[in-house]
Structures are given as C-alpha cells and as structure tokens.
Amino acid sequence: MKLQELVDSLSLVVKTASAHLTKEVTGGYVSDLLSDVIANIKEGSVWITLQTHQNIVAVATLKELSGIILVNNRTPDADTLKKADGEGIPILVSSLSAFEIAGLLYNLGLRCR
C-alpha cells in the first residue's frame, strides 16, 4: 500500500515531503517512546505518535520508515517540518486519536510486520 492511499483513506493532512507519498507502507506501529520505536518498528512502517519535536525525524530516518502520523491534530514544531522536508520524511496529521488511526490502518490490512 502506498502512503498516498493512506492519506486519501484517512483524510490525513500532509505537512512535509509531499513528493515522497509514493513510498510503500509495509506495516504500522504506535508508540511515544523513542527507544521503543527504535527497538520494535520495522523498516517501511508508518509510525503513529503524538511526539512533535525534531528528533522524531532522526528516528524515522534511521529506521527507514515510510512516514509519521501525528494524532489528535498535533502541530509539528517548525524545526521538525524543516528536517522532515530535508530528509524526505512525510509527516501526516490527523484529528483522530492513536487508537482510531491504528484501528483504521489495521482494517486497511496493515500489520506490525
């Protein structure tokens, strides 16, 4: 499934790296603890979180994630937007909670692996 399909299905607002929505999404993971994400997320996954600071971009880059979904209408910091555009990491925002986003992605067929 391409990231663009997630954007369309869940009405996500694309904040950065719109040229990278062709990335393939191979799974999903929900966590707000960075070390937990680093330890457990699989590359190509989309990461659902409420963290908005710039270090989420480093985590996404290191783990080769397809994108980051910010929940509850969280606004990414200005530095986060700049870094994500630079690294080609799409940041997508939703008004839904992490629980709802995870449920919808699961219904679309995404799994942890």
Partner: protein, 147 residues
C-alpha cells in the same frame, strides 16, 4: 573525510549536551558512511541503532562527548565518551525500564530506560566504563565477518 570506496574508515563526531537540534546527526552520518561503503544492511541497521542510543544518552545526560568510529572489513567499532555524571550502578542501568531521566526528558519520549538494553541487543560486544563524577565510555563492537 574518507575515501567512499575505501574498505576501512575512521572518524570522530563531537556531541553537545542538551543540543536536541543536532541530536542524531552523528548516527545518521555514520549510517550514511556505512551505506556508502556497501556494508550489509542488517549490520548498518544494528550499528545505527546502537550509535543513536549512545548519542542520545550523551545529549540527554551530559554536557558533551564524542563518538569515534572505526570501520574495517571485519568489524565496526564505536567508542562514545562523555564528561557526564557517570553511571552509579551499571547493572541497574542495563535493566530495561530503569531510568534516571527527568520528567521533561521523559515527556519527549526519551529516558524510557531502554537505551542501554537496545545497544546491548544490537551489538556483539559492549563494554561500559563509568566513573561517577568523571564520565562514561561506551565501547561497542559489531562484527561484520562471522567468526
């Protein structure tokens, strides 16, 4: 700094404490060097995770530190040295979930007590030398060639 097609490389990154704007830069740079050298992707991933966790520990807990690396066809060695408060009890620090991080740090999603265990899990060798009040040195080795 080094010839991209080289089979070995060495270098150093300086890390400034509390500088969250540049946190992760050293690890991302190291990852990119390893990729350019054609190191196996699984090994690149393990080395990047270990480097990132070690780098974040310097940023979160210490005023400053440095990360030295050496890449050879046989192994990757990463040495992270800081002038921080040191670790009082290394066994306790290696326990998943144990953390001395402040609430501010935790609210950013850091300091969940998984950093050192993550490093251990992704490396073939981890040596920690720490003197409270002086600093900590982490020596990490990841084998490239199977012994």
């Amino acid at each position: 700094m080094q010839d991209k097609s080289a089979k070995t490389a060495e270098g150093v990154f300086f890390i400034t404490g509390k500088d969250f704007a540049n946190a992760g830069v050293a690890s991302c740079e190291l990852k990119s060097i390893l990729e350019k050298m054609g190191v196996d992707r699984g090994i690149v991933r393990r080395a990047s995770i270990a480097a990132f966790e070690a780098e974040m520990n310097v940023v979160i807990y210490t005023p400053a530190g440095m990360m030295r690396y050496k890449i050879t066809p046989d192994y990757i060695k990463i040495v992270v040295e800081d002038v921080g408060p040191g670790i009082e009890n290394i066994d306790l620090a290696m326990t998943e979930g144990y953390s001395t991080a402040s609430d501010d740090i935790r609210s950013m999603g850091f300091g969940s007590g998984m950093g050192l265990p993550n490093i251990k899990r992704n490396t073939d060798e981890l040596n920690i030398l720490s003197i409270p009040g002086i600093g900590t040195t982490l020596e990490i080795v990841i084998n490239i060639k199977k012994e």
